[in-house]
Amino acid sequence: MSKIKPSKGAPYARILGVGGYRPTRVVPNEVILERIDSSDEWIRSRSGIETRHWASPEETVAAMSVEASGKAIADAGIAAEQIGAVVVSTVSHFSQTPAVATEIADKLGTQKAAAFDISAGCAGFGYGLTLAKGMVVEGSAEYVLVIGVERLSDLTDLEDRATAFLFGDGAGAVVVGPSQEPAIGPTVWGSEGDKSETIKQTVPWDKFFPHSRLRPSGGTPAGDVSDLPLDSQGNVKFPAITQEGQAVFRWAVFEMAKVAQQALDAAGISPEDLDVFIPHQANVRIIDSMVKTLKLPEHVTVARDIRTTGNTSAASIPLAMERLLATGEAKSGDTALVIGFGAGLVYAATVVTLP
């Protein structure tokens, strides 16, 4: 039997740099209230959200990613040519193929870096980080760019008072590279597909586009939109993200607190050792309740970027990380617990050293 030479990676991996991009347009609750019967006070008390950013037509998933990645690469102190792989987590890039990661890798000036998209909803950043760590340690890439990017304004039902205020747009990126010390802990991750109905897209694409009847599998007869939801003007609603609020809240607060604790235990970090907590920015009430359930000490800095960013799914953790470091609320070398959770349901938590 021939002997295959093994790959050679770094002893450990770490996050070397972070960057974010927030769309130029800031949308206050007043704009949301033009379409729903609610109030600024209600939105703030249920979600903590005061403003969010909505992308313009020019602020595409790729364009926002390139901006955020450029900052992350500069922050890491490397050149784009050194990036060996680009992993993009998104649910709001509307071309099924090719992966948007390839366009981003090209626009950044990487040297034919491996590039692919993943779909893990609001846990996407943790999933991407876990893949990146594996690549660096295994040796298939020296530096990996992990991007979480969303244009959730495209998937928001502006007439649904339970979700119209919730979502925002943006991109966050980190560069993961070699380290002599452990700086990304074991990932505690998983899926609960039995709860897939809890957060989902209202209507699948092939049902929304009824002229798809020429597909080999048949499909909906042209024009038959009788069972699709309509907006107040009588038009078929564009697919949007919908969720069962109470069920999501219970799962996020109480089940995810257990996962967060497992990630701390796996990394050998006690709550007293922790400097920063960066949960997915789903809802400030979820964040506050998680902090309470986890009994995090007072000294732990908690990310509450959701107030001015909204819920940006896969982008929320790197965006919040970037903001905490930019404002000085967290500093390089701090120990941070990150946890993402969302549609699937899926989750991923780990402890990292901040770049």
């Binding site: 249920r46 069962e244 609020g245 109470q246 219970r250 809802n283 309740s289």
Partner: protein, 82 residues
Amino acid sequence: MAATQEEIVAGLAEIVNEIAGIPVEDVQLDKSFTDDLDVDSLSMVEVVVAAEERFDVKIPDDDVKNLKTVGDATEYILKHQG
């Protein structure tokens, strides 16, 4: 040992006090969580989870929406407690 109606109301009062800051004496059988006790839909989930632990009972998400008043919750717990 199963809790009595009185014990359940007292327990719920402590939970509601802890979560919503409402005085325990205001938590009465006829009071609506949302309208009288400042417990919104998300705080209600916290109340339910705390009640589950305290009274060894499972309250599925689908049943939570039927628990409008302290009396509803008390009756549910009386019937389902382990």
